[in-house]
């Protein structure tokens, strides 16, 4: 009996070793290109299409990372720090490209690959893929938040934060759904919210070359607005603990009149709450001053090639295929992620499935970019901590504190909360 068990254990061990060795799968034949990126419902179809078109040059294998950005980054960072050669194409959030390039984890794009990645690509997303004037990634999709509002409650979408708060208060007084739902938890989403308001107010968090903390008058004014918003009684009770998807769910369940969120909420709402979706409209994100349009922080994903990839040539080709115009259109229509190639917006198919495309393109042409720095993650962490919960912001004092802690983060001194 014992011998049988031992033999069985050995057999299992051999099988495990065998299967893990097979993962590499590149002893002759088609090389496997491992694509590591967060979940996108229909990305597998894009991958299949690229594989069919590759004509045996490579076979992309879609490895799904966690849903939340922090989880995605942590997993990739740990494997890259260990020089894992099992990753080829990396789906990087726009804020990670400088960091990964500075850490020497991703390869520079050059020659024909570079020209292809830059052709027709919007300037904002492209800026996020550069580091020290070199291109380190190809923008796959961009993203920008919109103001979603219930047209059965609000006849005219608010143009500014003041107007939005006022409209919400009016609705509250009438006993109607009134909440402004958005992301206020201590994480990147709160920094995006703050960056959008700060840039819309003409403020700067860092100086122009990204070497010093600035926090000028515009940045302080944004702190005031965020504080007022959080204390005006128009947010949901869990505002300071809310991230993207819970915000969407909260709005879908009917409690809110406004939602500030990414376009993914649109296809999700069509599916999960079609009755509500009929009344939900969108508008440009609220501005700080009525005379100056808002400038909204862009998000999105870039595709980079790992330095430790065993097949860099095929990896570049695979990345280009995954983000070509046709596939960007497919992903926009099916997964709600906005394209980075401008011409895609003009495609007639886009109009039906993506009715908010004009508003998005309008925001994308005059975007707010998050501070470009390899230390962005650390800057973001200290900002999120200083702004959390938003109701506790004391504008002047918080700005002063941030000047110090952002400067420390830039110099990789100091402690991250």
């Amino acid at each position: 009996m014992r011998r049988i068990r031992r033999v069985a254990a050995a057999a299992v061990a051999v099988a495990l070793l065998g299967s893990s060795a097979a993962c590499g799968g590149d002893e002759g034949g088609t090389p496997t290109i491992n694509l590591y990126i967060g979940p996108e419902q229909n990305l597998q179809k894009v991958v299949d299409d690229c594989n069919a078109k590759a004509g045996g040059q490579y076979r992309i294998s879609y490895q799904v990372l966690p849903r939340d950005a922090d989880g995605q980054r942590v997993q990739m960072v740990r494997r890259l720090a260990a020089e894992d050669d099992g990753m080829d194409v990396l789906g990087l959030d726009v804020t990670w490209t400088q960091e990964f390039a500075s850490a020497d984890w991703i390869l520079e794009w050059t020659g024909e690959n570079k020209a292809e990645a830059e052709r027709g690509t919007l300037a904002g997303p492209l800026a996020s893929a550069r580091y020290e004037d070199k291109l380190y990634a190809a923008p796959k999709n961009t993203n920008v938040q919109l103001l979603w509002y219930r047209s059965d409650l609000v006849s005219q979408p608010p143009k500014t934060w003041d107007e939005m708060i006022q409209q919400a208060l009016d609705l509250k007084a009438q006993g109607k759904p009134y909440q402004v739902i958005t992301m206020g938890a201590q994480y990147e989403g709160l920094v995006v919210l703050y960056n959008t308001i700060a840039v819309s107010a003409g403020g700067h968090i860092l100086n122009d070359d990204g070497t010093k903390a600035d926090m000028d008058a515009g940045a302080v004014r944004a702190l005031e607005i965020l504080h007022r918003f959080a204390t005006a009684g128009v947010t949901s009770p869990s505002f300071s603990n809310t991230i993207e998807d819970p915000a969407r769910l909260e709005f879908q369940s009917g409690g809110g009149a406004f939602q500030l969120n990414w376009p993914f909420v649109y296809p999700a709402m069509q599916e999960a709450a079609p009755d509500l979706a009929k009344n939900v409209k969108w508008a440009r994100y609220p501005a700080v001053d009525a005379s100056t349009p808002s400038r909204v922080t862009i998000g999105g994903y870039n595709l980079a090639v790992s330095r430790y990839s065993k097949h860099p040539d095929q990896a570049f080709a695979a990345a280009l295929c995954l983000r070509n115009a046709e596939h960007q259109k497919f992903s926009a229509i099916n997964d709600g992620v906005p394209p980075t190639i401008e011409s895609v917006y003009a495609d007639p198919e886009m109009a039906k499935a993506y009715p908010m495309k004009d508003t998005i393109l309008e925001e994308l042409k005059d975007p707010a970019v998050r501070p470009l720095s390899p230390a962005y993650q650390n800057i973001s962490t200290v900002i999120a901590a200083a702004l959390s919960p938003p109701s506790s912001i004391k504008p002047e004092q918080t700005a002063k504190q941030l000047r110090g802690s952002i400067q420390d983060a830039l110099e990789s001194k100091g402690v991250l909360p």
Binding site: A103, Q186, S236, P237, F239, N241
Partner: protein, 316 residues
């Protein structure tokens, strides 16, 4: 490990007659050699998997080493320790960790003792009672933490809905209370299990004799049971204190450290894994290691904690 073996061997040697001593100590020495040989593989593995990382993190803690800036790696001596130990965030996290440790271990000791007495005295369905009591401990902490989080989130949560218009996880005091509640809920059964093993050490005769002498139930508990159980209680406290000091999962899921609810482990994770700052992060992990070592030292040397059965008291 050696001290336990040593003491055991010495104890045995003392009980042997002096005539046999010389002959047997020869055998004893051979026995000890064999013991070392048998231990060697385990010791080597321990050195490789535990010793090496500890030394390596001490080495890293003496450097400026940020993965984002690989070219700026340099030896900086103790300056990382100065940075961390003079930082308000670190001390806030240290305070939170200490608070959670003290409160949860104290509450768990009381509840665990009550639970242990119940489990010990149950006559009907003993197996069922013990299994039921152990369920929280069997659930993966992260999973349990998620259900606590949803329970305390307005809208989805039955607990949050008890309080009108409030989101307890968005405020510091209530977040800390919820974190401690989740910790206590999860590990009280473990405490009870250790204490139940201690209860088994209390001889029935002793209790009966005390009862005969007119001791009340409370007197029997405090004057007879507690002193006899002391080694078991100390072991339980030691295990739980070390465990509680490393609290991570519940905080990670419930608040992710928002509103100053980070523990030192959470802070270390943020600096090391998310911030990619190996220097500062390693410094923190070395400091945690030192703190844990101090706790263990206090328990073992000052309170005289020992593994059950290895000390004189445990031999009863």
């Amino acid at each position: 490990m050696t001290s336990v073996a040593d003491r055991g061997a010495k104890h045995r040697a003392e009980t042997l007659s002096k005539v046999d001593k010389a002959r047997l100590s020869e055998g004893k020495r051979a026995e000890r050699r064999l013991a070392w040989l048998l231990c060697a593989p385990a010791v080597l593995v321990m050195v490789a998997v535990a010793g090496y990382p500890i030394l390596y993190s001490v080495w890293l803690s003496l450097q400026r080493y940020d993965l984002k800036f690989p070219d700026e790696r340099e030896f900086v001596g103790l300056s990382n320790y100065v940075t961390v130990l003079s930082n308000e965030i670190w001390w806030t996290a240290f305070g939170v960790t200490t608070l959670i440790t003290v409160v949860t271990v104290a509450v768990e000791l009381v509840l665990g003792m009550a639970l242990a007495l119940i489990m010990h005295r149950t006559l009907v369905g003993r197996g069922v009672v013990r299994t039921a009591a152990l369920i929280p401990y069997g659930i993966v902490t992260v999973v349990a933490a998620f259900s606590w989080r949803y329970a305390w989130t307005p809208g989805t949560g039955y607990l949050a809905n008890l309080f009108e218009d409030s989101a307890p996880l968005t405020e510091r005091a209530s977040s800390l209370a919820i974190i401690m509640l989740a910790e206590i809920w999860k590990t009280t059964p473990f405490m009870a299990l250790l204490l139940m093993a201690g209860l088994a050490l209390v001889p029935e005769d002793l209790l009966k004799a005390a009862a005969m002498d007119g001791a009340t139930a409370w007197q029997r508990f405090t004057k007879v049971m507690l002193p006899v159980m002391k080694p078991a209680i100390l072991v339980a406290l030691l295990f739980r204190t070390l465990d509680a000091f490393r609290v991570f999962d519940n905080i990670y899921v419930l608040t992710a450290g928002a509103n100053d609810t980070s523990s030192v482990s959470m802070l270390t994770y943020n600096n090391l894994i998310r911030g990619l700052n190996l220097g500062i992060g390693s410094t923190m992990s070395v400091l945690i290691f030192v703190a844990v070592a101090i706790i263990a030292f206090i328990f073992v040397k000052l309170f005289g904690t020992a593994a059950p059965g290895s000390s004189e008291e445990g031999r009863r």
